[in-house]
Structure formats: C-alpha cells, structure tokens
Symmetry: C2
Subunit: 371 residues, 2 copies
C-alpha cells in the first residue's frame, strides 16, 4: 500500500510525517489556549488525530485552524454545555449549544451508552452543532463497547435533489461500525454524493479535469471542469437513489433534530458571520440485547471469511472488507507517523505564534518525508 | 402519468385492471383455504394488494402463488407464532418460526409501537422469516402512527461484494417513511443493487439487451446479455458504496438477527426443498420523543417546498419527492383498479380450482384493459 499523497503547497514542498502523540499534544494545547477546557480540548484533539491516523486527512488536524478561527469570532461557543430538550428511556433530543461538534457528539454518545446498556437501544438527535469530523470516529467508539452505532449528519449545501441544479443537501454521510473478531471493525462511512467535494477541490488546485458524472455546472449541465463544478453541484451517488439517501439523512439529522435544514446549514469556511447549526443523528444498539456478543462476532467473522473467499473478477487480487484498508493505514500511520502537509503545518505555526504556544512540529520533529 | 406496463403472456394478452377490494378478498380466501388463520390471511392480503396499489407489482398479488406453494410443501409454517428470544424495554429479538414474512413482520411492528411510545424507540431483529414483500408497507404503517420506521431485510443471493463475481448478498433494500402534512409520506425504499433483478428478467423475457453497468457474467466480466447476467451477478449501486450498504443491511438483518447470512439465504423459487431463513431489521422512532409532531410536519413540509422550488436541470419539468410518484400511482390505482397480468391471473385461477375457492377475477370483473 503506498503512502497517502497529500497536497503540497505552491512551492512543491512535500508533506512530512509526525508522531501522532506529538500532533495530538499540540492540538490539545492550541485548543486550550483558545479557551476550550482541558478535557474538551483533549477530546477534540483525539478525534482529529484519529482521523489522520485512519487516513482521513480531510477531517483531521487540517480542520483545527478553522475551528479555532470560528471560536475566536464567536461562531462556536467553546464553553457550551449540552442541554437535553427531551429525554425518554431510549431517546435524547440534545441542544449542543453551538459547541464544538466533536466534543458535543462524544458527550452525547457517553450519555447514550448506559441507556443502550439498560434498554437495548438509545437514539439521540443533536441540533445546534458544527462540523463534527469523521462520523466513523463515534461509530468506532461504540464498537469498542460491543455496540453498533448508526450515525448520520447533515452538512453545508453541496448537492441538488435529483432533477435540480441548486446546492441544497450536504454530502450527508451515513456511517456505522461493527465489531469483529478479526482485529478490525467493519466500518462504513460514506458521503451520499458520488465523490467527496474534496476531490474536486484537489483537481482544481492541480489544474486537472474531473471525470464525467461527478458534477454539474451552475446551469445544471454536466461538466468536467473542476472550477465550474465547484460553482455548481456535486452529483448524488447512483442518481435518484443517492438523492433518496441524502434526503433520509437530512430528515433524521436536520428536520428531526431541530437544526438548520438543507440550504440553511451554514458553511464552515464561507459563512464567517453566522453559526453552522448542523444536526446529527445517532442510533446506538447494544449487541447483547439481541444476541451474545461472542456469537455475533463469530457470525460476522464467518461472513468475512466467505466474502473474502468469493470468486474474484478478472484482475482483482483481493476482496476487501469495508474498514480493512483504513485499519491497515492506521497500523502504518501509528508506526510511521501521520502526514501533515506544508499549508496545514504553516497554519499551526501561525496559530502557535498568535496563541503563545510553543510550536513543536518543526523540521526536526518530522519522522520522515512523504515521497 | 402513463399506466404501468405489466408483462404480458406469450399470447400477447394484455393486463387487466381489477378493483383492489376484489383482489384482496380473493387473496384472503385463497390464503385461508391454504390453512392460514382468518386474521393472518387478511394481513397477508392487505400487504400484497397495498404493493399493487402503489405500483410495486413485483411484490404484490403476483407473489401469492409461490407463498401458497411453499405452505403446501411445508416450507412455510402458516400457523407459526412469534417467539421472543430476547426482550428489553426497547429491543426485541424475534424468532418468526418460519411463518409468513408479512404476517410476522406486521405482528412484530404491532409489539414495537407501544414500546416506542413509552421509551421513544424500539428496535427488533426478526430471524427465521421469509420474503416479506415491499419493505415500505411497514414503514407506511409506522408513519400512520406518526412514527418513523427504518427497515432493512436480507434476501436471496444476487449481488457480489465489490471485486467478486459470486452471488453473495441479496439486493438488500433500505426503507424508511416519514409523515408529512402534504397528503403523502416521504417514502424511501431502494434495493442496494444498481437495478432490481426483475428488470433483467423482464429484458430476458422480451429478448432485449440490458444497459452496460448493470451486471457481470459468471466469469465476472461486464455483460449486456440478460440471460448471461441472470447466471452472473447484479452490480451494487455506485460500486463500493453499494457494497458497503448491502453489507450493513446484511449485518443488521442477517447477522444480528440470527437468520441465514449471504449465500445461505434460501431462494424462494429455486430452493423448493428448504426454508429461506430470511432476517429483517426494524428500527422504530416515535417522533414525539424528539419533537412535537406538528412541528416535525411543518419542518418537513417547508423542506419539501424548498426542494420542489430548486432551479431545475435543462429538460426537467418537475422535481419529485421520493414517495410522491408512488402516491400518485396509488390514488389512480384505487380509482381505476390494479393491473393483473395474464400469467398471474391464470395462477390465481388454478389455485382457486385446486382449493375450491370461487374465482372472482374473471373477464367480467375487469374494470379496464391496460393499454
């Protein structure tokens, strides 16, 4: 497996690898210096570095700068508590108080775990939240408890309903993790768009065109021009099916939670004058309410073996289980370090200077240069 | 909107329209004559005719014959009770006792409704079941209670994991309905395959080729030959994303329930020597546990208005909401009758003769011929 190829800055400088602990420590100190409490800062840093470890660099440390900038502008309340608008034995309607998405989602999950242990299931809606990073982070936390978390979130507008050409839905991901006896979780974490918007941004930066079928221009016509696509809309996965899934996610995360819906969700980068008001949906199942955990894992492992033994298509060398590639990447990144590209490193350095935090990711701290 | 074009028999005879009540009454009498109890027969008939009313003819009265044949062979226990393997406040692990899928799923849903009313949420796994028809039937029943049902089922093998070319997963659908104030439910009910296997069967029957990207032949190579495709595998929607969704459905419905998994699920038509052992997953949310129902409907209706007002792609005349087309079809079918194709009518006639049930769908009972 080749190393992730991270974007390089204009000067063509390469990304460098850093020890996850070093990055996490710096992220914690920066968050604390921005007014986030000790324990919340640790939660946020853990979530960000976990994404980088799993190769989801788009949801990792590269997001810390914008979170801090939004805290500084009063667009995120770093001191927000959780308010329970409604509470039943298995249901929570949570107001995140415009707090940090990662922190509020993780605190909500911590409330849900004993509920699910007692009743078999717990479901929470969270309103008034932010971008909360990689959804699978929370799903994996649940899997550690021998629970299954199904989770969705709405996000800033990027996709149109089928037939339309105006950004309404976010890329509205669906995620779930399932514990196995194989040393990794089955992990599903997919945008309901045909492709992550980040891929189009990357194509534009490198001056490349995008494949047909990814996006429409502002007039609703298919385009392979990345810049045109960014002004237009990303297409849903599998056309009307992806539209239906994005709509389902919007209702569960946005409508039912009481957060902003569709085009009203704030953009993290573009709207520096208002909060995002993102909504999340978490559905937590305690496996032991349905079946002994050992039996569940045996059954999952048997299924994995059968899937991997399937006859393969011409040219295919291995059938992968969702989550397997990400697990391999995580093993490698824990050992070799996580890649941080020069623009992100520069942002962190500037933050350190502003917030009087020692910058500990200088050249000498790098473990390796990504080839 | 044009009438549904139903398959005609070899002689080219056209489908005819019948009053839903007449079809439902006949289905009830046939099920009773096959040993199904009065109330169970009524449940089954209601589920089948509801599918026909909504235009899902593949899951309607056309399935009654195979259900009865399997009852006659002892492959379905028409007298099965529901056994609760495990029960907590919000969780049920149900053994359907190899009973009729529609009946056992509906009875499970009826147990879940008061649980969700009390705790906010109820989740059930059902094992040892059969093909249970259109998943959206149950979702719509929940929407009638101002609840949201997320439902999945595994099914007989048809699709391969990404990279493989052996049928492992069924077309594993995902369904959910959401009540609105617009006179129809938002209804999502999609196979995780790129296309329903029925479309390939229809192409084969009419001697047509299928579009590229639908299926692989037995060697894992792309094919546009419908007969080759039926020996091979249907592709998942959106490649690896559909694979991940099908896997999620398999774990929730098959693994967690204790039913057969993947390739071990019995085929309703091909395996006339063993039970199917299908598994279902039902997750029921009481809207009022999270938000007042009136507020929820207002918010959904506002979203619908915004979606329908989106700027449209060139050539598009209307943006439809999932469930809207099916609702229009249902209004029309309730008024004009449901189409029954000649082979299905013939099957029903033969069943009537065998079971000494008066055949009430003769020519004179037809309301109209489908053009």
């Amino acid at each position: 497996m080749s190393r992730v190829s991270t974007p390089s800055n204009g000067a063509g400088e390469a990304a460098k690898l850093y020890a996850p602990q070093a990055v996490q420590s710096l992220a914690t100190r920066l968050a604390k210096a921005s007014g986030v409490s000790n324990s919340d800062a640790e939660m946020l840093a853990d979530a960000l570095v976990d994404a980088d470890i799993h190769g989801v660099t788009s949801h990792g440390i590269s997001r810390l700068n914008i979170y801090i900038r939004r805290i500084q502008k009063g667009l995120i309340d770093s001191d927000a508590g959780l308010t329970l608008d409604r509470q039943l034995r298995s249901a929570l309607a949570v107001d995140a108080g415009n707090g940090l998405g990662q922190v509020q989602a993780l605190k909500t999950l911590q409330l849900m775990i004993p509920m699910a242990r007692e009743s078999g299931v717990a479901v929470a809606t969270i309103r008034n939240s932010q971008h909360f990073g990689a959804v699978s982070y929370y799903c994996n936390k649940a899997a550690d408890q021998n629970m299954i978390l199904l989770a969705t979130t709405n996000c800033e507008p990027a996709m149109s309903p089928e037939g339309g050409c105006q950004a309404f839905f976010g890329t509205n991901p669906i995620a779930a993790s399932f514990p196995t006896g194989k040393g990794f979780n089955i992990k599903i974490d997919m945008a309901t768009s045909i492709v992550a918007r980040g891929n189009i941004i990357a194509a534009q930066k490198s001056g490349k065109s995008i494949p047909p079928g990814w996006a429409l221009n502002i007039d609703g016509e298919p385009t392979t021009d990345a810049a045109e696509a960014l002004l237009g809309t990303v297409l849903t996965m599998a056309g009307h099916k992806g539209y239906a899934l994005a709509l389902m996610v919007e209702i569960l995360s946005g409508v039912l939670s009481g957060s902003a819906i569709g085009a009203d969700v704030g953009s993290m980068y573009k709207n520096m004058d208002r909060k995002q008001d993102v909504g999340h949906f978490l559905c937590l199942l305690d496996i032991s309410a349905f079946m002994d955990v050992a039996e569940f894992k045996n059954r999952v492992d048997g299924m994995i073996d059968e899937i991997k033994a399937c006859r393969m298509r011409p040219g295919v060398e291995e059938i992968l289980i969702p989550g397997e590639r990400s697990h391999r990447r995580a093993m490698e990144n824990r050992r070799l370090g996580i890649p941080i590209d020069p623009p992100t490193r520069k942002e962190l350095q500037v933050l350190c200077e502003e917030l009087k935090v020692p910058f500990t990711l200088d050249e000498s701290a790098a473990m390796e240069v990504v080839s």
